[in-house]
Symmetry: C2
Subunit: 301 residues, 2 copies
C-alpha cells in the first residue's frame, strides 16, 4: 500500500571523526523516503529551492518515489551543518538556514490523499495536523517530533497526537513529553495521549516498541565503524513504516510490528555506514535480509 512521507528535504554539512562533507543531500523526509522505498511505494511531500540539484531529484526518482508533492520554489533549500563529538554521542549544530523551509505549508496532491499510510516527519505540530486532515481514510498515521515542539508548542502537539496511531521519538523526548523518567511509565502516559503504538529510539542501544498489550525490545546493531549517524533515526522510521505499508501487506498486528522494528533497526544501522544517504545508493535487498537474519541470530535464545 502506498505511504505518504512529509518533512524536510535539505542539504547538510557534516563533520564526524571519519571526515567532513560540506554539502550533501539530507533532510528527514529524504532519509525516511529512501529507506521506506525498499519496502513500499512512497509519495514525498516537501519543499526545496532553485538550488536543488537534478542529481538529487534523480536519486529519489530512481527509487520510484513520487515527487508530485515536492515543491520547488524561488530561494534556497534548507541547509543544516553540524559536528559530532569524538564518540559520536553528541552533536553540535553549527548552522541552520531554514530558507524556503520556513514557508513550508504542505498541500497534498489529489493523488496522495487516498494513501493508507502517513508518516509525518518532525515539523510544526499544526502543520502535521493539517496534513492529517487532508487525507481520506488513512489507515495508520503517525510520526516524529522533537524537544522544541514538546516544550514550546505543547498544546498544539497534544492536539495533533490525539489523531495519531503511532509515535516514534527518542528516549529523552519520551521523558520530556510524559514527565516520567521511567520509560515504562513514560510509555503508558504517552499511549494515553493518542498513539497506541509507541517506538522509543535509544540510539546505539536500540529501540523499544510499546503497545497497550506488550512491549518489544530490539538491540542496536553493533557496527564496527559508525561513519555518520545523521539520518539514522529517520532511516529507522522509514524502515519501520515502509515494512508495515509494504512487505507486511497492511497487517499491523503484533508480529508485524515486531518485525517492523527490526527492519527499522536494520535501515538505521546501514545509514550509519557511510556519509549522508550514500549507503542507500548501493544497498541491496539481499543485504537488508542478511542483516535482518543477523538480528535474529544475535537475539534469539
Amino acid at each position: 500500500m502506498s505511504l505518504v512521507v512529509v518533512g524536510s528535504v535539505a542539504y547538510d554539512g557534516v563533520e564526524t571523526p571519519h571526515g567532513k562533507v560540506d554539502r550533501m543531500l539530507g533532510g528527514a523526509a529524504t532519509y525516511i523516503a529512501l529507506a521506506a522505498a525498499y519496502f513500499t511505494e512512497v509519495k514525498l511531500v516537501g519543499i526545496v529551492g532553485e538550488d536543488f540539484a537534478q542529481e538529487d531529484v534523480d536519486l529519489l526518482a530512481s527509487r520510484q518515489i513520487d515527487l508530485a508533492g515536492l515543491d520547488r520554489v524561488p530561494g534556497k533549500t534548507f541547509f543544516w551543518a553540524g559536528v559530532y563529538s569524538h564518540d559520536m554521542n553528541e552533536r553540535t549544530t553549527l548552522q541552520t538556514d531554514l530558507n524556503v523551509f520556513a514557508g513550508f505549508d504542505p498541500k497534498l496532491p489529489d493523488a496522495y490523499r487516498s494513501a493508507s499510510y502517513l508518516l509525518l516527519g518532525n515539523i510544526q505540530p499544526a502543520l502535521q495536523k493539517s496534513v492529517r486532515s487532508q487525507m481520506n481514510g488513512v489507515k495508520f498515521v503517525g510520526g516524529d517530533t522533537m524537544n522544541y515542539w514538546i516544550k514550546d508548542y505543547r498544546g498544539e502537539l497534544l492536539e495533533t497526537l490525539k489523531e495519531w496511531d503511532f509515535l516514534l521519538i527518542n528516549d529523552s523526548e519520551a521523558r520530556m513529553l510524559s514527565g516520567e523518567h521511567n520509560l515504562r511509565r513514560a510509555a503508558a502516559r504517552i499511549m494515553e495521549m493518542g498513539p497506541r503504538t509507541l517506538v522509543v529510539k535509544r540510539g546505539e542501544f536500540g529501540a523499544i516498541l510499546f503497545t497497550p498489550e506488550f512491549h518489544f525490545m530490539a538491540p542496536g546493531y553493533l557496527l564496527e565503524d559508525v561513519f555518520d549517524p545523521t539520518g539514522a533515526g529517520d532511516s529507522f522510521a522509514g524502515g519501520f513504516i515502509g515494512y508495515l505499508a509494504g512487505r507486511a501487506a497492511g497487517s499491523i498486528d503484533l508480529e508485524a510490528l515486531r518485525r517492523a522494528v527490526i527492519y527499522g533497526s536494520v535501515m538505521g544501522s546501514f545509514c550509519c555506514e557511510k556519509f549522508g544517504v550514500d549507503r542507500f545508493r548501493t544497498l541491496t535487498h539481499e543485504e537488508i535480509e542478511a542483516r535482518y537474519q543477523e538480528f535474529k541470530t544475535c537475539t534469539s535464545f
Copy 2:
C-alpha cells in the same frame, strides 16, 4: 557442579531516591553467591570482622552456601556507603572503610579446590591469580575487575587474565582495558588477552556476550521502579555463572552461554527491586522462570 565465589562480604549504607538504609548486608561475593545459589552449589571465600551478624550468616547458610571459606577475624567488616543520583545513573561514594578486607589473602579450604567453576569478584588481580593457582582441574574460571586495577595494576591484571576463560565487565571498563571505543573492536582485543568469553554489561541497556564465534545481545529488563541498583552487576554475574555450573549441567556451548546471559539479566533485574539483598530473601524459582519467559516474549520476532 560446584562453584567457588571469591570477593567482598560487606556492610553497605545506601541512599537512592526511594529511601535510605544506613547499614545492610552487601559486598560483591554476597550478591554473587545469593544469586548463584538459585542454580548451583556455592562455596564462598571472603573475610568479615567480629561485627558480622549471625542473621547474615544464617541467610547465606539457608541457601546451602558453604561458608568454610568465610574467614572471621578480629576487627570490623568492610563498610561502604554511597548515594545515587535522581535518575540512578550516577553513584557517589561517601565512605569506604576497608577494615579487615585490607588484609584479605584468600586461602581455599581443601574441599573447595576441586570445584569445577570459579568466579573471582573484583579484588586485586594478584589475589585473583593466587586463588586460580590453588584450584585443581577447574573447568571454567573468570571474574570481574574495575577501572582502578585496569589503570594502576595493568601488568598484573594482564597476567591474571591470561588464565581466565571468561571476563564480565561493564562497557566503560571494556573500553579502558582495550583502548578501543567501539565495543565490537574492544571485545576482539580483550578476547586476545585470554578470556574467550566476554560479557559486557551495559546497565539498564542490558548486556552483550562475545565469543570468537558470535555475539549475543540481551536487553535490560524494563523495571517500573528501580529501588536500589547496588549489586545488580554482581547478581548478573551470579545468575550467569550459577546457571552454567548448575542448570546447564556443565555445558558451556553457545546455547548455554546465551541462556546464561538471560539468567544473569533476570537476577540483576530482581536485585534492583528492593534495597540491598532484600529481594533475594523472598525470590522464588517460579518468579525466575516467569521473568526468563518474559525476556523471550520481549525479544523474539
